[in-house]
Amino acid sequence: MELIFKWEWLPELGRGLVLTVELTAACISMGAVLGLFLAIARLYARGPIYWLASAYVQFFRGTPLLVQLFMIHFGLAGWGIRLSPLFSGIIAMGLNTAAYQAEYFRGAIQAVKRGQTLAALSLGMTRWQTIRHVILPQALRLVLPSWSNELVYMLKYTSIVYLIGLPDLMGMGRTIASDNFRFFEVYAVVALIYLALVLIITFALRSVEARIRVPGLGTAR
């Protein structure tokens, strides 16, 4: 059995890669913003807001991402709400990662010592100023390692969008392989591209971590 690689695969895989990166960037940033508000709601709100945020997190962490994606793309279509595959993909994965990011943010915010809040309040800062200028700058530094994991995880997990017909890296690989039946070789190239991307992101975030590190906050690596 010989292995065959063709340079002509690369332009198409490259287009798929661009979509994968765009999809990841869109859903991870949507998840970060939503996740931050969810975490704050779970920590500081009471009553309905707290319950809603908690139910949200439980639902999206407690059900498979693929089911969520199908519910949004095919399920909503049954109600007459037709979303493009790209839009469905971003929404489903953004909503999903928001729940996980919310839990990471929550943990990091809780790890900031109570005395920090007392000191900020004693200066006359409002609760929101305290969160914005004292709690979050510390919590975001603490959350970065686990947040990096979530980013890498989402990057790989975007590959499920080929199931709703999106030509991402995985989808392009599948298209090429179904034409030439070189499944092993094509998927091997796809895997290597994912791996390269993961390594680049990991190193980039590590250098960000190093740049914003402050003595006495978090663990030294």
Binding site: L118, A119, A120, L123, G124, M125, H133, P137, P215, L217
Partner: protein, 249 residues
């Protein structure tokens, strides 16, 4: 009217009543020291004064304005009351300079340059001009506490509350913090200090308040309390604590 008036303050945590009706006043420029065994509500009392802890009952006035009133803007009141914590509570992610500057910029809305100048002056005042760019983790406990005093001073407080400011310090670092506090008292700052440093209490306080089990047992000038207390329990406590901590402070 006195600068600070505290009237019949009550606070309960679950079943335990920590403050059972505390009343006292503090005049401008006065330094009062609160002493008493641990767990008798001294820290709770300080936190009730700027409502970091909400009292259950009782009223507080600062400069004629009722702190405990629902209509009072508590943020504006807190900005006028400095608070120095036992474990410093400097903002971990900020340098000494930024720690002092934060309240000036965010609460007092000063522009950045003026705030920087002011913060530098305050750091100089506590002898830490050369540590402006150090992070809290890079400072000794004594230096951190001096930065936290500078942070309080920068806000131009009408009053500073000190909650056992030297209790978390190694013995050799206590002196530098007390020295700053002595200078403040001599400079006319109004201060309310919870401490076990009897030397400081004796030499600096205008009046000493002895608290136990949520009530004020006795208050009066240090000469009276240390030499001729009315209540036997005061004498007993002072004898014990002086044996344990020593006189020097």
């Amino acid at each position: 009217m006195a600068l600070l008036v505290v009237e019949d303050l009550h606070k309960r945590y679950g079943k335990e009543e920590v403050l059972k009706g505390v009343s006292f006043t503090l005049e401008r420029g006065e330094t009062k020291v609160i002493i008493g065994p641990s767990g008798t509500g001294k820290s709770t009392l300080l936190r009730c004064i700027n409502r970091l802890t909400e009292p259950d009952r009782g009223r507080i006035w600062l400069n004629g304005e009722e702190v405990t009133s629902r209509r009072t803007n508590i943020y504006r009141i807190r900005a006028q009351i400095g608070f120095v914590f036992q474990d410093f509570n400097l903002f971990t992610h900020l340098t000494a300079l930024d720690n002092v500057r934060l309240g000036l910029i965010r609460v007092k809305r000063m522009d950045k340059r003026a705030a920087t100048e002011r913060a530098k002056r305050e750091l100089e005042r506590v002898g830490l001009a050369d540590k402006a760019n150090a992070y809290p983790a890079q400072l000794s406990g004594g230096q951190q506490q001096r930065v936290s005093i500078a942070r309080a001073l920068a806000m131009d407080p009408k009053l500073i509350l000190f909650d056992e400011p030297t209790s978390a310090l190694d013995p050799e670092l206590i002196g530098e913090v007390l020295q700053v506090m002595i200078e403040l008292a001599e400079g006319g700052m109004t201060m309310l200090v919870v401490t076990h440093e009897m030397g400081f209490a004796r030499s600096v306080a205008d009046e000493i308040i002895f608290m136990e089990k949520g009530v004020i047992v006795e208050q009066g000038p240090p000469e009276v309390l240390f030499t001729n207390p009315r209540v036997p329990r005061t004498a007993e406590f002072l004898r014990k604590i002086t044996e344990f901590y020593g006189e020097s402070g």
